[in-house]
Symmetry: C2
Subunit: 329 residues, 2 copies
């Protein structure tokens, strides 16, 4: 017998999936960002559940309201990656006995804020006693079968792109968890990246609408991890030519003797989308993003060989499968 | 500020709902057993989430496999009460660091068993670290708008009925939690009522199909509590003439100097359905249940006056709002 801490999250998930009878003709395989059942010939009912646990997901400095908002937003982010509009949210709470009526109110306000920011509503839930704070949210949506963007569609020759810059949350976590110093203005930007994450919902919907993507994933476990997941699901590799590093992350890294590339690749808790784009539709995808105030940032290409490499200034190095994983000390 | 333990579950839930913007034209109000969004003119997408927490929901003697199965079944029971067939299950897990690969496997097997017993499948989920074992399941279904049986439809003159007997789980919990003694055969029946609960899904579907019900609820917080919830939602009262007490509960109560009525009314963790039936369709409802091997047990009548009373042998006494409630010492 091995402890789950030795196994790590991926093997824990595999051990569970191995016990399950598979639904016949499951429209989305296990391991993608969302699950679905067929509603009719053309449409899917899409669902997603993701749990926030106080111990691991709420850094010091994050209020209960922010934690509850984040519990909704991290689920919305997965819908964003798939191009699915969330219709409603359920929220199941585990509350420690020490909580007060005001704590509960802050959680209620945060749940509502998370839902309303993305045009949806909390429609039900459940409350329980627990030792940790636990906020388990589930999302519900309906979408066209052809529209949903899986992890598995990337093909050699496609472009790899993101919806924005990376590295701010890794720097923000260093500030919140390790007490790293940063000047006031910078500190605010970096901490907010952690405390008030924004899901790229309108961007994900616009990209799906443009029918320009072949695969998509969010980056909640970090950019490197997301590339590895896409690679595995699509059975392709990636050559990355530029990692979009946030200027604030570079500034923070420089003043702390850190590598901004490390912060940007392996940070985790990021909420940008990582997508592969049909080369001939790259202009259309760019325009779709521009129309919602965002930029399609091209970072590399999909390759046949199942390697994930960073090629910059004539130098090549592997991008490792590292990032946020549960059950790892 | 007051602690949630002083408030109790109902007020905690109210405090949260008070913070939420309400979805316009929400097809099912907050506080019913399931939630829903409109799919089209005639159909609803129905969802439900309910969390099992090791500390409060897993008595000594319950295996991990049984706990995981129960986490699915307690959600199915709510769908059963509404007459909705579950299409798929999501499961979000919080696992303590001390768990092993075999623990995880037992949880996977239990989840699968719970789903497959009711003709459905686990289609996705999420794993996390937590101090307690947490299994949060969400169900998904689609049903005709007119078919879904709410808590709010009971009308004076309707009959009140259940799908079976009460009291076994209260006795079983006394055995598991307090070490009460019972002869081997009896012990097995009573403990199994707790360890292997059965949701009345086929019964709930058959009753909804017969279009004979005006209101319905499951009895996971106990028969008395369910009657109070129906009373509140429908703005009616109940006169109960007979409480269906399980023979095994009576036997256990007699040998321990307990009141079997107390066990049957206020026990909790029951999974029978408590329904109100149009009087003219009572025969149809009975037949529908008989066809799936169950019996419609008439226990009383719906009254205009918002009182819940037990009238037996010429004696009248109130049925109290007592039962299982979280955040109560």
């Amino acid at each position: 017998m091995r402890s789950i801490m030795e196994l790590g999250e991926k093997k824990v998930i595999k051990a569970i999936i191995d016990c399950l009878d598979k639904m016949p003709a499951m429209p989305i395989p296990f391991g993608d960002d969302v699950s679905a059942v067929e509603l009719d010939r053309n449409r899917l009912v899409v669902v997603k559940t993701d749990m926030l646990v106080g111990k691991t997901d709420v850094p010091p400095g994050m209020s209960l309201k922010q934690a509850a908002r984040k519990a909704v937003v991290m689920n919305i982010s997965d819908f964003a990656a798939k191009g699915v509009r969330p219709l409603a949210v359920l929220s199941s709470l585990g509350l420690p006995q020490s909580f007060t009526d005001e704590d509960v109110r802050q959680i209620g306000l945060g749940l509502n804020e998370g839902a309303r920011e993305y045009g949806t509503y909390i429609i039900g839930g459940d409350t329980n006693e627990a030792s940790d704070l636990v906020i388990s949210c589930s999302l519900l949506g309906v979408c066209g079968k052809r529209r949903l963007v899986k992890r598995s569609g990337a093909r050699p020759g496609d472009l790899v792109a993101t919806t924005g810059f990376f590295g701010k949350t890794a720097a923000g976590l260093k500030i919140l968890l390790e007490g790293s110093h940063a000047p006031r203005g910078l500190r605010k930007v970096l901490a907010e990246a952690v405390l008030l994450p924004r899901a790229r919902l309108k961007e994900g919907l616009a990209l799906a609408e443009a029918e320009a993507l072949t695969a998509s994933i969010d980056s909640s476990d970090g950019l490197a991890w997301s590339l590895h997941e896409l690679s595995e699901a699509s059975n392709v590799g990636f050559t990355i030519n530029s990692v979009p590093m946030a200027p604030e992350a570079i500034e923070f890294a420089e003043s702390h003797g850190l590598d901004p590339l490390e912060l940007s690749l392996y940070g985790g808790e990021e909420y940008e989308l990582v997508v592969t784009v049909r080369p001939e539709l790259c202009g259309k995808a760019s325009k779709a993003l521009l129309a919602c105030g965002a930029t399609l940032m091209r970072i590399g290409k999909v390759t046949e060989e199942k390697k994930i490499e960073l090629k910059t200034n004539g130098e090549t190095r592997p991008i490792q499968r590292r990032g946020w994983e549960h059950f790892r000390a």
